[in-house]
Assembly symmetry: C2
Homo-oligomer: 339 residues x 2
């Protein structure tokens, strides 16, 4: 583990450190002879450039931080995969931080209170983001891009999803298959977050468009978006005097729990109670029955996010932009009645 430095290489190759550096970074044209000598010396000594030193000098680390609530939630792990791959294509590596649904932690990470000086940029994908991030002074912050599900504030670059429309389409699909008592699972207990609010808005407007009445009992909050939360909410729904004939879940993971709850209650998924989610995680494609959903293309989100973030790193003063990525309704068995 003893450090071999440029100096050692330079000494062995009988050149200056400068030349070694030039060879390593293929800078200006170095004579083939010298290059060969340097390369040989590097090889012999097993020289490995010290990234930390290089980074101190250049001010860049080649490291991005991806901040998600929980990496083991499939939506985020699938997103992480796409982000890591996209970052790799731009020469960056990705560190993952989990906020664990802790707002204060989210804020801390976003303003880089901690040790964030290590990163060239931040990809921030909060499950629940408060309006207050809009109040952050983005000029003091590292190049940052918000992923998914938020309203454009004009302060941060931002890859958005049209939550309201996505929720509207999901609900309308349930209406189109003949459902009349459609529940919504995933509203937030406190109405402080944008994403669930938008999804609730889409749900409500779809009901209105279909001329269906709103029954407050059918709008069930979920503190988190885990399978367990979807399960518990659905158990409560099915215990109602007038249970729903369809459930729109604000995430696929909620929907997985919802399907299981319908099953455990002895009702038939799709025939008795249709279930639809949002996200299009792979798990839903193989579920029994397969889960209808509104697909969010994580590859597109990641690709566009990296393009944008790299641009901002190169030019921190450019104005913030918003990119809206499309979504797509995918009908599968969980909303399809038996023939």
């Amino acid at each position: 583990m003893s450090q071999v430095t440029v100096k050692d290489v330079a000494r062995l190759a009988k050149v200056s450190p400068r030349t070694v550096s030039n060879v390593v970074n293929d800078y200006t044209h170095v004579s083939d002879d010298v290059r060969r000598r340097v390369l040989a010396a590097i090889d012999e000594l097993g020289y490995r450039p010290n990234l930390i030193a290089r980074n101190l000098r250049t001010g860049r680390t080649g490291l991005l931080a991806l901040i998600v609530p929980e990496i083991d939630v499939p939506y985020f792990s699938e997103l992480a995969r796409a982000v890591i791959d996209a970052a790799s294509a731009h020469g960056y590596r990705v560190m993952i931080d989990q906020t664990g649904h802790d707002h204060e932690r989210e804020r801390q990470l976003l303003i880089g209170s901690d040790r964030t000086m290590l990163f060239d940029g931040i990809l921030f994908s909060p499950l629940v983001t408060q309006d207050e991030i809009a109040d952050l002074d983005s000029s003091t912050v590292l190049p940052t891009i918000l992923l998914g599900e938020h309203t454009f504030t004009g302060r941060f670059d931002h890859i958005a999803i049209d939550n309201t429309r996505a929720a509207h389409e999901a609900t309308t699909h349930l209406v189109a298959t003949g459902r009349r008592r459609i529940a919504a699972v995933g509203a937030q207990p406190r109405e402080t977050y944008r994403t669930p609010r938008q999804r609730t808005a889409g749900y409500l407007s779809a009901l209105a468009d279909a001329g269906l009445p709103l029954d407050d009992d059918l709008v069930v909050p979920a503190a988190r978006y885990h399978r367990r939360d979807g399960y518990d909410a659905t158990r409560r729904l099915l215990a109602l005097d007038a249970p729903p004939d369809a459930i729109f879940c604000y995430s696929d993971l909620l929907a997985m729990g919802a399907m299981r709850a319908v099953q455990d209650a002895g009702r038939r998924i799709a025939d008795d109670v249709a279930v639809i989610g949002i996200d299009d995680i792979e798990e839903g494609r193989f579920a029994i029955p397969s889960l209808s959903t509104v697909a969010l293309d994580k590859d597109v989100i990641a690709t566009r996010a990296l393009e944008q973030l790299v641009r901002r790193i190169e030019d921190p003063s450019r104005p913030a932009t918003q990119i809206v990525v499309p979504h797509q309704l995918i009908e599968r068995d969980s909303t399809r009645r038996a023939a």
Copy 2:
């Protein structure tokens, strides 16, 4: 983004940079008065220590690399969560690299050919590790710990699972529920990897112990361990003249695909064809039907791994150790016949 340095703080607080550093790192006893002044200056200037510089000086980065084949495979994302949390408890942050099943990439990352100088240590969780890593000269390598599923080579610290016994228990469970034609899904096409080889060994010995004959047709390879691979393998099994009445999958994800294939073939899971996996991913607990499995405790793996890795970082010369974490058979509905 302009850097505020210790010097700026020192100037404002009218002390030396040394003192500022002492305050920041709670070193030697600084007088309360001075400490207060320094803290006030830090606050006023919004000073944030530059980690890169600190790291250059100390030789530590506080960063670990977690290397997995694919982060969006639930076993690995659940493991990553546990690792990130455990690392955080030790003051480390975690960067994630994906090898994408590329052996050469795995090797490169392991020997730190690239820019690995950035990390204080490596947690390496290959899906498929070749014997050849045993040939690596561990002395030239960063502190490294191998996670799960390998044979102890004496070169690297190593958190192991008793694959042979786990597979034996899974198979024996199927025997105990009255199955006689038990298939195995997940053997590797080329017998170069240890984990699947060990699992196959456990399967075979369980058959032998039960006095059941081996039918080569029932041992099906899977190139990867995705749902799709389990699905395809199972379709082939069910198309046999004498299809199996139970399927032991080498991972839960394979088993999820297997269950779906049984369903699609119009057979009943558990009653006609029992399915069991290994891993105990959360997805299996909510699946319809719930998936029997052999649980590997990822929290224990992560916790022990970090203890061990931190020890090695502090003392690189200590001998390599192997820790075997226990596993546990969990019976759920996918192997339970209807009453």
